[in-house]
C-alpha cells in the first residue's frame, strides 16, 4: 500500500526554483532516506509535506487523502509525525509532560478545562519514554536536557500520536557519533514493529546506508536518482553530485 504519494511538486522563492517537479512514493513500512547537498530542497520538501509551505504546483497524497492544501495541524492529525532539524519541544514542561501533551492532543482531550493534566495519560507516557530509554529523565525539565536527549524527547512526542508516517529532518544532527547510531537503530526497530513508514534526511552516509530501504538523491531541487542503497552507491550521477568517489568503493 502506498502511504505517501508526491506528484510533481515545485516551489520557488522570489524567482529561485528550490523544488523542480519532484515526484516519489513511499510504501507502508518502508524507510526512505532523502539525501543531497545543502540547498538541494530537502527541508523545503518536508515543509510542503507537513503543510507549513504551499507548493506552487503539484499534489501530495497521504494514504489517498489529498493533503497538499491542508493546514499543518490537520495533516498531522491524519497520522503523520514529524521531527525538526533543530529539535522543537515544549521547554516549560517536564519530559513526561511533553509526551502527555502529545498523547492528549492525539486523543482530542485538550479541550478539557477542569481535570489536572498532570495525571492524564501518565502511564502511557512513561511506557513511551521507557521504549526510548528516557525514563530516568521523565521528571526533568526539558530546558535542562542535553541536545541528544532533547532529540529523543522530540521523537517520543512524534511517536505519541501513533503516526503511520514519520518525517524526520536530520534526526541525528548535533548528536555524538554513538548516539546517532543508537537513535537510528531505535527508529528502524520501531518502524518494523509498528509498520511505520519513515522519510528522513541525513548527511551521515553510514546511517543512510545502514537503515534506508531506498534512497532519493536530490540536487538543486531535482530528483536525480533513486533506488536501493547499492544502486545509488553505484550510480555515477550520485557520486558526481554528492557522494564523491571515495565512498563508492565497497
Amino acid at each position: 500500500m502506498t502511504i505517501l504519494r508526491v506528484e510533481g511538486i515545485s516551489k520557488s522563492y522570489s524567482g529561485a526554483l528550490v523544488l523542480d517537479d519532484l515526484s516519489f512514493e513511499l510504501e507502508a513500512g518502508e524507510i526512505i532516506a532523502m539525501i543531497g547537498p545543502n540547498g538541494a530542497g530537502k527541508t523545503t520538501c518536508f515543509n510542503i509535506l507537513d503543510g507549513q509551505l504551499r507548493a506552487d504546483r503539484g499534489q501530495v497524497f497521504f494514504a489517498d487523502t489529498r493533503i497538499s492544501s491542508m493546514e499543518t495541524h490537520e495533516i498531522l492529525r491524519l497520522g503523520v509525525g514529524r521531527t525538526f532539524q533543530i529539535a522543537a519541544t515544549f521547554h516549560s514542561f517536564t519530559v513526561a509532560e511533553n509526551v502527555q501533551i502529545a498523547l492528549l492532543a492525539n486523543r482530542g482531550l485538550l479541550w478539557n478545562l477542569h481535570s489536572a493534566a498532570r495525571d492524564l495519560c501518565r502511564d502511557e507516557a512513561q511506557r513511551m519514554l521507557e521504549r526510548l530509554g528516557m525514563l530516568a529523565q521523565a521528571a526533568q525539565s526539558c530546558s535542562a536536557l542535553s541536545y541528544g536527549d532533547l532529540k529523543r524527547v522530540e521523537l517520543a512526542i512524534a511517536l505519541a500520536g501513533h503516526p503511520r508516517l514519520l518525517l524526520m529532518d536530520e534526526p541525528t544532527a548535533g548528536m555524538a557519533p554513538r548516539e546517532r547510531l543508537e537513535l537510528m537503530a531505535l527508529v528502524a526497530r520501531l518502524a518494523r514493529e509498528r509498520e511505520l513508514s519513515v522519510l528522513f534526511t541525513e548527511h551521515d552516509m553510514d546511517i543512510v546506508f545502514a537503515h534506508a530501504d531506498r534512497i532519493l538523491l536530490l540536487e538543486q531541487g531535482r530528483l536525480i536518482c533513486q533506488g536501493a542503497p547499492a544502486e545509488v552507491r553505484a550510480d555515477p550521477r550520485a557520486r558526481r553530485a554528492y557522494l564523491g568517489h571515495d565512498l563508492g568503493a565497497p
Binding site: 522543537a88 519541544t89 515544549f90 509532560e97 501533551i101 502529545a102 492528549l104 485538550l110 478545562l113 477542569h114
Partner: protein
C-alpha cells in the same frame, strides 16, 4: 473642493509631526528592540522646553529669529541628551530582561516625566509664540493657510532625506543598519554596542523632542500630550513596519491624511444615526491599523522580526505547583479576609474590595500573557465593557443587579471573541499593538455614544440590590466571586487546555506538529481572559455606583500590565501580589503625596532593575537557590 485641498494640506502637516516622533520610535525599536513607551513623554518635554527656551532667549522682548529657532534647537538637543541619559541609567540595565519588563521600565519613565512636567511648568496649558516670519497665512484656492504649516510639511521629507543619508552614507548608519538586521552578528563582529545603542536612543529622542518643539506655534503645551502622541506614534510605527524609517514616513502620511479626511468630511448620517467623524479619528486610525495588520502582518514596509535569542533568565521556568505550605498560606489569607469586616473600618474595606477586583483583572490578563504568551496592551477593553455591559443592563434594560452582573462578562466575552479572532493572527509586539487598537476603538465608541453611555459623564446610580447594598455584604460577594474566579483560572492553567496554551507558547511549530490548532486555542484563551476581566469590571461598576470611560482607557490597561509585571509573569500568585501592591500604593501614595506618579515610577524602576523576574518570581527563585 478647496476645503478638501486644505484638509489634505492639514493632513500633510500632521503627517510631518507624526513622522518625526515615529521615526525616532522606530529607530530605537529597530536597534534595541525596546518599545519605548516614554517616547510621547520626550515629545511633550520637547514642546515644554521649547516654550521655556524661547521665552528665555526672547528675554521679555519680541521673539527674534534667533530666539525662536535657537530655542527649538536647544529644546530638541536637551531632549536628545535626556534620551541618552535614560538609556545609560535605566534601559541599559534591562536589555537582558524579558521584553515586557523593558516596556514596564519605559512606562515608569512616562510617570516620572509627567510629574516632572507638572512640577516644573504647572498644569495650565502654555501657549507659545508664533514663528517669526512665518506667522502669516498664504491664500490657497481662496482660503487662508498658515505659512508655518507649509514649513512643517517640508520638514517631514527633509528629515526623511537627512536620516536616509545618515543611515546610508555614514559608517554609523551602516552599523545601525547592521545591528537592526542582526544584533548578534553585529556584536560578533566586534561593534561597540553600548555606544551604538546610546547614540541611536539619543537620536530617536532628539527627533521626538524636535517634533514636539516644532509644535509650539501651533498648539499649547499640555501635560496629557504624552499619551495622545504615543498612541499615534505606535500606530504609525506598526502600520509602517517596526524598524523601517521609510515605512514610518508612508504610514505617517496615511494616518495623517485619514485623520484630516475624517475632520474634512464632518458628520455623516446613515441608517438614522448621525456619526460625527471628527470625533472618531481615533477609531478610524485604529481601524486602518487593524486592516493593515491583517493584510500585511509586518506593516507596510516591515519584515518579519528576527527572533532574538532567549535572554538569560527569561527562559520559561516550570510553573510552580502549590506546595502544602503555599496552600496553607492561601487558606490563611482567605480566612483572614473572611473575618476582616469584623474589625476593618469602611475605608480599608473599600480598599480591599478594590484589591480583590483588580486581583481578578490582573489574573485574567496574566492568563493571556503568561501561560498563553500573548501580551495584551488593551485588556481594559474587556474590564470596561464588562462594567458598561452590567451598568447598561441595569440602568437601561432594567435587569436586576444579579442578572446584570452576569450580562457584563457576557458582553466582554463577545468582544473578546471578535477582537481575539484578529489578534491571534499576529504575534509579539504586533499582537500587543492590535489589542491596544481594539481597546482604543472600544473606548472611543463608549466615549462618543452619548445617548447610550452618557459620554464622558458615564453612568451613575449603578447600585447593588438591597440585600447586597451594605459594604460588608458587597465585600463578601466580591470575595466569593473573585476568589472563585481566580481559583477557576488557576485550575484552567493546570488543565489540558492550559497545557495546550503553554505548548503553543513554547513552540507553535511543535504544537501544530502534534495536531494542535494553535490559533483556535489562542482564540479561546482570549475568550477566557476577556470573560473574567468582564466579571471584574461588572463587580467594579456596582462597587463604585458609577462608571466613566476611564474604565476602558489606556491607563487602566497599563495598570493591569504593571500589576502583572510587578508580580512576575512566570508565577501564578504574581498578579495577585502585583494587584495588591499597586492598588495599595496608588491609594496610599496618592492620598499623601502630590507627586505620587513620580514616586510610583521610581519604585517601578527600582523593582525592574533589582527584580527582573517580578516580586514573586524573585522570591521563589531565591527560595529555589536556597534549597
Amino acid at each position: 473642493m478647496s476645503s478638501i485641498v486644505l484638509q489634505f494640506l492639514n493632513g500633510l502637516t500632521s503627517a510631518s509631526t507624526l513622522f518625526l516622533v515615529a521615526a525616532g520610535l522606530s529607530l530605537i525599536f529597530g536597534i534595541t528592540r525596546v518599545l519605548n513607551f516614554a517616547h510621547g513623554s520626550l515629545y511633550m518635554l520637547g514642546i515644554y522646553l521649547a516654550y521655556s527656551a524661547i521665552g528665555v532667549f526672547a528675554g521679555g522682548g519680541g521673539v527674534t529669529h534667533a530666539a525662536f529657532w535657537g530655542g527649538i534647537l536647544i529644546a530638541a538637543t536637551v531632549v536628545g541628551i535626556v534620551g541618552a541619559l535614560l538609556e545609560v541609567t535605566v534601559l541599559r540595565r534591562v536589555y537582558r530582561s524579558p521584553e515586557l519588563f523593558q516596556l514596564l521600565a519605559t512606562f515608569a519613565v512616562v510617570l516620572l516625566a509627567k510629574d516632572l512636567v507638572l512640577w516644573l511648568w504647572g498644569p495650565e496649558d502654555l501657549l507659545g509664540p508664533r514663528a517669526p516670519g512665518l506667522g502669516g497665512a498664504v491664500e490657497i484656492l481662496g482660503s487662508p493657510f498658515p505659512e508655518y504649516d507649509l514649513f512643517l510639511i517640508a520638514v517631514g521629507p527633509l528629515i526623511l532625506g537627512l536620516l536616509w543619508l545618515l543611515l546610508h552614507a555614514t559608517r554609523w548608519g551602516l552599523l545601525i543598519r547592521a545591528a537592526t538586521q542582526d544584533r548578534e552578528m553585529a556584536a560578533a563582529l566586534g561593534i561597540n554596542q553600548k555606544l551604538l545603542f546610546t547614540s541611536a536612543f539619543a537620536l530617536g529622542a532628539f527627533l521626538a523632542g524636535l517634533g514636539g518643539a516644532l509644535q509650539i506655534p501651533r498648539e499649547p503645551a499640555q501635560h496629557f500630550l504624552d499619551f495622545t502622541v504615543i498612541v499615534d506614534a505606535f500606530v504609525v510605527v506598526v502600520v509602517g513596519g517596526m524598524g523601517s524609517i521609510p515605512g514610518a514616513f508612508l504610514a505617517a502620511l496615511l494616518i495623517g491624511e485619514v485623520k484630516a479626511l475624517c475632520i474634512g468630511i464632518g458628520d455623516v448620517g446613515a441608517f438614522g444615526f448621525s456619526i460625527s467623524l471628527p470625533k472618531l479619528t481615533l477609531v478610524v486610525e485604529s481601524l486602518v491599523m487593524a486592516a493593515v495588520l491583517i493584510f500585511r502582518p509586518w506593516g507596510l514596509m516591515g519584515r518579519a522580526l528576527a527572533v532574538l535569542p532567549d535572554p538569560a533568565g527569561a527562559r520559561q521556568a516550570l510553573l510552580e505547583k502549590s506546595t502544602p505550605r503555599m496552600r496553607m498560606a492561601g487558606i490563611a489569607i482567605i480566612a483572614g479576609l473572611a473575618v476582616t469586616p469584623a474589625f476593618a473600618n469602611e475605608y480599608s474595606l473599600v480598599l480591599i474590595i478594590d484589591i480583590l477586583i483588580f486581583a481578578l483583572f490582573a489574573s485574567s490578563l496574566h492568563f493571556l500573557m503568561g501561560p498563553s504568551g500573548m501580551a495584551s496592551f488593551g485588556h481594559a477593553a474587556y474590564f470596561g465593557l464588562g462594567a458598561y455591559g452590567a451598568a447598561l443592563a441595569f440602568k437601561h434594560a432594567g435587569f436586576p443587579m444579579e442578572i446584570s452582573i452576569v450580562i457584563g462578562p457576557v458582553i466582554a466575552t463577545i468582544a473578546a471573541l471578535a477582537f481575539g479572532w484578529f489578534c491571534v493572527r499576529l504575534s509579539g509586539v504586533y499582537l500587543a499593538m492590535l489589542t491596544l487598537a481594539f481597546a482604543q476603538i472600544a473606548w472611543s465608541v463608549v466615549y462618543q455614544w452619548d445617548s447610550l453611555t452618557g459620554g464622558s459623564n458615564g453612568i451613575v446610580g449603578v447600585w447593588p440590590a438591597p440585600w447586597l447594598s451594605g459594604r460588608v455584604a458587597y465585600f463578601y460577594l466580591v470575595l466569593v466571586l473573585c476568589g472563585a474566579a481566580i481559583g477557576v483560572l488557576r485550575r484552567i492553567v493546570f488543565s489540558p487546555f492550559g497545557y495546550a496554551l503553554r505548548a503553543c507558547r513554547d513552540s507553535p511549530l511543535r504544537a501544530a506538529a502534534i495536531g494542535i490548532d494553535v490559533r483556535r486555542f489562542q482564540w479561546m484563551a482570549f475568550l477566557v481572559a476577556g470573560g473574567f476581566a468582564g466579571l471584574a469590571g461588572a463587580l467594579f461598576a456596582f462597587s463604585k455606583g458609577s462608571i466613566s470611560p476611564e474604565v476602558l482607557a489606556i491607563g487602566q490597561s497599563v495598570d493591569g500590565l504593571v500589576m502583572v509585571l510587578l508580580g512576575g509573569v512566570q508565577t501564578l500568585s504574581g498578579p495577585l501580589v502585583g494587584a495588591a501592591v499597586l492598588t495599595w500604593l496608588q491609594e496610599l501614595v496618592a492620598r499623601h503625596i502630590d507627586y505620587w506618579r513620580a514616586l510610583l515610577g521610581l519604585i517601578i524602576i527600582v523593582l525592574v532593575v533589582a527584580f527582573p523576574a517580578g516580586i514573586v518570581g524573585q522570591l521563589s527563585s531565591r527560595r529555589r537557590t536556597a534549597e
